[in-house]
């Protein structure tokens, strides 16, 4: 390898360590991240066309994420404003570019809006997908809206479970979402984030809500951190490509190519994660479990002192 090329490579690696080191060490656990085996792999099943506009990074590091969790045991509407208030407190400072020479973080493109999808009038800070989070120009380390992943689990006591599951599936499709999984007593759907509250209200009407768990994960920080990593890697890749053009000896070219391949692979992996994260933000996941009520689950309820109440029902009536 020629000396100037060797030096150039050394400088490049040193710059790599300085520029990307902080973010890589912070997300050291992400190196083995596999989008298919990740906890949020539901997004992998998302329609591919919806992923086209995202170039952020989808590392869902649950240790870093601010997770809000709300558990409701009775049918109660979700307070979106409460989420928004909490989110506003924690998500305002977004990680900006590491140095003044860094270009502004690329603004995520707005998701393709379906004509029948109506945004919720509620003025909560919920992004309409990745496009809802706008990165301000470089130097302004604040964001307009946080990147939130909404997830809900609902247990319903229902009559005629099959019909209820049909209704939930239809609800997903009507709102521009899609079915993820359906079993005899369980269904998982994904709906556009802006329709999350409406979908939850519709689902609550399908039966008696026995339990409801809504969680919101703020992934704004991960999103912008990983965008920085992607941007840095793109710069490195460009420089490696320049070096490759200048390499006049085969061993030099091979060394640069090897490094270029490594950087490209890492870059593509991060972009894949970005798509996944964007998808998880753009579509909220709702899991509905349906079941008939069981008498052994209601032991703590009030029992009125009228014995005849206990003899109501089909069991006594149909015993001829």
């Amino acid at each position: 390898m020629t000396r100037p090329l060797y030096c150039a490579l050394l400088v490049l690696f040193a710059w790599l360590l300085a520029g990307c080191g902080a973010s890589q060490s912070k997300y050291a656990g992400d190196r083995n991240y596999d989008a298919e085996s990740a906890p949020m792999s539901a997004g992998a099943a998302a329609p591919m066309e919806a992923e086209a506009d995202y170039d952020g990074d989808a590392v869902a590091d649950s240790d870093d994420a601010s997770v809000y969790r709300e558990e409701i045991s009775e049918p109660t509407s979700i307070s979106g404003t409460a989420h928004a208030a909490r989110v506003a407190q924690t998500s305002a400072p977004a990680p900006g570019a590491p140095g003044p020479a860094q270009p502004a973080p690329p603004q995520p493109a707005p998701p393709p809006q379906k004509p029948d999808v109506k945004p919720t009038p509620e003025p909560k800070a919920q992004p309409s997908g990745g496009g809802g989070s706008k990165a301000k120009p470089a130097g302004e380390n604040t964001i307009a809206a946080p990147m939130l992943i909404y997830t809900a689990d609902v247990n319903l006591a229902v009559f005629e479970a099959e019909k209820i599951l049909d209704s939930v599936e239809r609800l997903a499709k009507d709102s521009g979402g899609y079915l993820v999984e359906r079993q005899a007593r369980r269904i998982v759907i994904r709906v556009p984030s802006q329709d999350f509250d409406g979908a939850m209200l519709q689902i609550a009407k399908l039966g008696d809500v026995l339990h409801k768990n809504v969680s919101v994960e703020d992934v704004t920080e991960q999103y912008f951190d990983l965008q920085v990593r992607i941007r840095n890697l793109q710069v490195v890749r460009d420089r490696l490509e320049e070096l490759l053009k200048k390499a006049d000896k085969v061993p030099d070219a091979i060394a640069v190519e090897r490094e270029l391949e490594r950087v490209t692979t890492q870059l593509e992996r991060l972009k894949g994660k970005a798509k996944l994260l964007g998808e998880l933000v753009r579509f909220s996941t709702i899991t509905v479990n349906v079941s008939p009520r069981h008498t052994d689950k209601v032991g703590s309820k009030v029992r009125l002192p009228f014995p005849w109440l206990n003899s109501l029902g089909l069991s006594e009536l149909l015993r001829l």
């Binding site: 009559f159 008939p292 309820k301 206990n310 089909l314 009536l317 001829l320």
Partner: protein, 151 residues
Amino acid sequence: MQKAIAAVLAWAAIGCGPSFEASTPQGFVELEDQEHFDYRATTADGLVIAVRELEHEPKGAPDFWIRAIENQMRQRGGYAMLGSHDVSTKTGLKGKQLRFGHDEGETPYLYVLTLFVTDDQLYLMEFGGTKELVERHKDQLEWAVQNFRGK
């Protein structure tokens, strides 16, 4: 002495008997000697109609009893509440009809309970059977409600 005893027995028979008249719809057969019901009839397929008469004690507003029944059925009985509406008999007795659903394996069942509240009595008219049977006989069930006579 024997006449007195006979009179007491006759009074008891009149006074302690059911204070209502339930009409048996077409296609149903009234069952005798019911232990837990004051009246019960069934179709050959097993759609059952029954009436219970309860002393209205302690006194409660109709809404109280409706709520108590609803809670019992939903929270303890494993039934889904499907709806409710007001009903009225031909004699003008007002009542409330509650519809409950219940899955037994793959078969949906319906349980329709009509409550009439008077000063002294609570009348519970119950219909039950598979959803298909109840819906097929809904006219007979409506007829039974309209022709019910509480006293």
